[in-house]
């Protein structure tokens, strides 16, 4: 289940949905990303998130499908917010329910790492001295490539 929305999300609600759909399985791993209070610029006041409607959902659904081929995944939920976000706001949620602890962690981290380099979202940092598109970090690319290496 992939949801792209401007509204905030409620971790407890997402967790409950994962727990319900996993029925009887033992492990739920979640990741929540927050807007940091510091960025490329020192005086950042917030973020604006642009995305490619339609493609975003397809890419993330694809990542969930891929995770399901590599690990035991009983349920997975991804929420990504778009539009204007304040410092400290929740920006992304990934939750995975699995029969196995290791699989829950791996699938959750894989989806999150791969989303960072393949889902069409773009962050603009809003600051008092002007706006500024965020550049992709080398570390995100490296972290995502790790998963391909592990598969080989």
């Amino acid at each position: 289940m992939v949801i792209i929305q401007a509204a905030d999300f409620d971790l407890a609600e997402e967790y409950q949905k994962l727990r319900n759909s996993g029925n009887g399985t033992g492990a739920i791993a979640t990741f929540t990303g927050l807007v940091r209070d510091h960025g490329d610029l020192d005086d950042v006041t917030g973020l604006f998130l642009e995305h490619y409607p339609g493609m975003t959902e397809q890419v993330i659904e694809g990542l969930i499908t891929e995770a399901g081929k590599r690990w035991d995944v009983r349920a997975a939920r991804v929420i990504h917010r778009i539009g204007s976000l304040a410092l400290g706001d929740q920006i992304v949620f990934v939750g995975v329910c699995s029969a196995h602890r290791g699989d829950a962690f791996a699938a959750c981290q894989f989806i999150m790492d791969a989303l960072k380099t393949s889902a069409p979202f773009w962050k603009k940092e809003l600051s008092r001295s002007g706006d500024h598109w965020v550049e992709q970090k080398d570390s995100d690319r490296t972290q995502s490539e790790q998963w391909h290496k592990r598969q080989e």
Partner: protein
């Protein structure tokens, strides 16, 4: 409208590219067999900032909302998109 007018693809731009080109989409004529590279060449011929962005190897490509390459083949009415490396999450 003649037949030729149907032989176009829609090209969409996002984020920094959209701002630099000051447009979110253009229609680009193609004659089959065509690839993404042909569309990039047509756009680059507009000169200045268009030529610059089309030469930028970091620009990412999608065709019909799936990741693609310059060699990806195109047919009329395909949706092509060019955008900077993604920075979500």
């Amino acid at each position: 409208m003649n037949d030729q007018s149907h032989a176009t693809v829609t090209v969409r731009f996002f984020a920094r590219l959209r701002e630099q080109l000051d447009t979110d989409s253009v229609a680009v004529p193609i004659s089959e067999p065509a690839t993404v590279a042909d569309v990039l060449k047509t756009l680059a011929d507009r000169g200045s900032v268009w030529a610059e962005l089309c030469a930028d190897s970091r620009v990412m490509i999608a065709v019909n909302q799936a990741m693609a390459k310059t060699t990806t083949p195109l047919k009329p009415r395909d949706e092509v998109a060019f955008f900077p490396p993604v920075t979500g999450g």
